[in-house]
Symmetry: C2
Subunit: 486 residues, 2 copies
């Protein structure tokens, strides 16, 4: 029989090895935090070299821990679009808070299991406290508020769809969709997030059940178009059950007219969900709070702490004002789960989630929020919004035309003097990316698919000097594109 | 305008603060790793005190980072069932590998986004390499192998259900379940995991579509009962589409007769999934490998690295031999996602997953495996299996009767001399738990719901002396239960 003293070294490592590992880990993390803004924002995409490095690990022989960590950290740093870079203007992936990093390590060490409340009572209560505190910020009364941490916004939106379905048709739990008399259909802006398409497919409704409602010139869902679609579907014998407003679309940062959409949902007695995955952060800033007005009417809300709150991936959150709906949707009884939670009138996380044993996701938000306070976050969100305003103003001053309309720090723009097609926009974006000075993308905005460049302030570390760098890189790319070397 | 230099301190923290934070973090983690076996395995469940501590954080004023980390780490350590404890004999939640802890911190710092391949090319390729390497171990040829990391086994099993559905009925993507002529039904052992029940509900099939097939006296699915159910459902106009074999049930560790179940699935032309979330680790140990024979026939496999491979929560993995099925199930096109991956013939993670932007889950397995090697894991799994055998033998020697039959280290047992009901078992389990010396649970085994105690070797740090402690605690609890103080 092998004794554990022989087996643990390779998994636990011995004390001196761990000491050396921690030193290296901290120094790698510190080096990254201190110098990320000096790195090129994005790597050369040498796919064969990247694949070859990954596949060079055959796992046939144990490798030295510290050296392996150092070497892999170096290669990861080499081959990654640096989402934490102050000049990354991409897809809402932020620079992590330092408390997130500490929390993720501590969670890995304690490795609590968030399935049964009685296994991780404090972790469960910390998450519940966060859920209720955030729900309050969105206008859901604390004593009705419930929710759950998810792997990300996709799972939170998926959860919204499922809770809306099970709220309306409890019989779905047993007999499924084929037992209904009518096909359920649901509504989101044409600019809404595609996770709803995934959810439509995965829930058995099918993509055809998702109605993409047209938007106005500001890319906000048109409430009249929503109402017309609802009437039309009803007249065709379909069963509308869910209406989604988006607070900060992924493409162009549009905020739907939440109160009007909520009213339409209520008039038809439908579940009203607000996808505030990114824009929801506005509720933490008094002067931005009105942007989210109407969310207090929502039956559920998606909010991603790993976006505007700069928590490390992934920390999605689903919030609801229906304290029983999660258990009704996900609850099951098993012979092997501890039942202490029930007796103590506490919530077993597994009964609230698509997941079973779950990671303690909430700690990184809890620690970050404890250290920054609500006010610290307000300052940060205000700062990022100001950086967006600065970028917008400066772009306009320098001969760019802004083609989206949002108070959030997401700017879609094109050349003011010429009409660029998507390929032209992409050439300019590529030139900026290849300069290593910033990462931006292209987008086709709205129904007219207006080709544009897209830059979103995602890092709390973005300062005016980074905006200046982006503007210069853009000017340079534009000149090069307009005066190509033949 | 607020400058970033004013805003970052609360999220990034300044350098001296971070230095102090890392020192505290490392010392908290080290203390935990070094002394977890001296802690009582489980906390007193003082729900009001626990809730009061969580709610004492109002987030109204910034708190000092290092002290807050220390205080919360202390309270989390106080109020948690210590799943990493060598005397935790519970629900497959392991002691994390040290490389997992380092990886989770590094991932949080680099914060790569695993949605677009081009954003995180190396991270994506490292995960793909792991997926293919593990698939090979399960007998899926490397050049056909595909897969994806998931939040846990529930998502992996859910993915299996969805891929089986979309493989059989591609039209589901658009028109949904209500467009089918027949109700799809699927099959799992009565001892199988309840995540399939959640998945049945969430997929719109409904719980009634899940057929729980009866088990034999060893709690293994009966292939004749499966075949009879398939014939019966076909005769009733239903549409079987998926058969699941379980390799290591949660309750009693039973391993279904995988080859026979696979044959039944093939004879009926159905998707064959093996839920090897826990027991799958046997493929890494030559002498245990035959237990998983037949898995090479599987269309898909669930394997949780956060169980027997001791990776921190959560690191589920879905594997398949159908390289196109994930994209067919989850793929969507959006205006805002970078398309570089397509051009480079690389896989965009978001097209393979229920998730969208996803955490880089694979690094903790990659680093752990690089440092331990396959052989290091084989040694560990062998050791844990030997600890299970030791427990089994010793229990039998001390007047306990083993009531389950598995070569894996999960032992269900009761008093050999008396017939205990569930309450009696629970009293004994409670006495063991309250002693602080070990954590075990109760279970009702099989169709007869035989009440029993349940102990599973989940920690790679469990040694013979811990088994001895458990045996003494059990003896003591039994005496107390048999000779109650009146």
């Amino acid at each position: 029989m092998t004794s554990a003293t022989e087996t643990t070294p390779l998994l636990l490592l011995d004390e001196p090895t761990r000491a050396s590992l921690w030193t290296t880990l901290v120094s790698e993390i510190e080096r990254y935090l201190q110098s990320v803004d000096e790195l090129p924002v994005s790597p050369a995409l040498d796919a064969p070299a990247i694949r070859a490095f990954a596949e060079s690990f055959t796992f046939e022989h144990p490798l030295p821990p510290t050296e392996t960590l150092r070497s892999i950290a170096a290669q990861l740093t080499r081959y990654q679009v640096h989402t934490p870079h102050p000049s990354y203007y991409g897809l809402f992936n932020p620079a992590s808070t330092t408390m997130s990093i500490a929390a993720d390590a501590l969670v890995a060490a304690l490795n609590p299991q968030l399935a049964a409340w009685s296994h991780s009572p404090l972790a469960s209560e910390m998450e519940l406290h966060l859920v209720r505190s955030l729900a309050e910020k969105f206008g859901i009364p604390r004593d009705q508020a419930d929710g759950v941490f998810t792997s990300g916004g996709a799972e939170a939106n998926h959860t919204a769809l499922l809770t809306a379905l099970f709220h309306r048709w409890p019989q779905l739990a047993g007999a499924g969709l084929r037992s209904l008399d009518q096909q359920p259909v649901f509504y989101v802006s044409a600019e809404g997030h595609h996770s709803f398409l995934k959810a439509a497919k995965a829930s058995g409704l099918g993509a055809d059940s998702l109605r993409e409602i047209e938007v106005d010139s500001s890319l906000r869902m048109r409430p009249d178009a929503l109402r017309a679609a609802l009437e039309r579907d009803r007249a065709h014998g379909l069963a509308p059950f869910l209406v989604i407003a988006t607070a900060g679309t992924t493409g162009a940062g549009a905020i739907d007219p939440i109160p009007d959409i909520g009213r339409a949902a209520r008039d038809h007695n439908l579940w009203f969900h607000v996808d505030a995955a990114w824009g929801g952060a506005a509720v933490l800033v008094p002067e931005l709070r009105p942007l989210l007005n109407g969310t207090e009417q929502a039956d559920s809300v998606t909010f991603d702490a790993h976006k505007f709150l700069s928590i490390s991936m992934g920390a999605g959150i689903y919030l609801t004002r229906h304290p029983d709906v999660l258990t009704r949707t996900f609850g099951t009884l098993t012979a092997y789960m501890p039942r202490e939670g029930e007796r103590l009138q506490a919530v077993d996380p597994f009964s609230h989630s698509m997941q079973w044993s779950r990671r303690f996701t909430g700690l990184k938000l809890f620690l970050s929020l404890a250290v920054a306070g609500w006010e610290g976050y307000a300052v940060t969100i205000r700062h990022q919004t100001a950086m967006g305003d600065l970028l917008r103003t400066q772009l306009a001053d320098r001969g760019w035309k802004i083609v989206n309309d949002t108070p959030l720090p997401l700017v879609c723009f094109t050349d003011a003097a010429h009409s660029w097609d998507l390929a032209q926009c992409q050439r300019v974006a590529n030139a900026v990316i290849e300069s290593g000075q910033a990462w931006i993308s292209t987008i086709q905005v709205g129904r007219e698919k207006q080709p544009a460049l897209r830059a979103c302030i995602t890092s709390y570390r973005t300062e005016p000097r980074h905006i200046e760098t982006l503007l210069s890189a853009l000017d340079q790319a534009r000149s090069a594109a307009e005066n190509p070397v033949v």
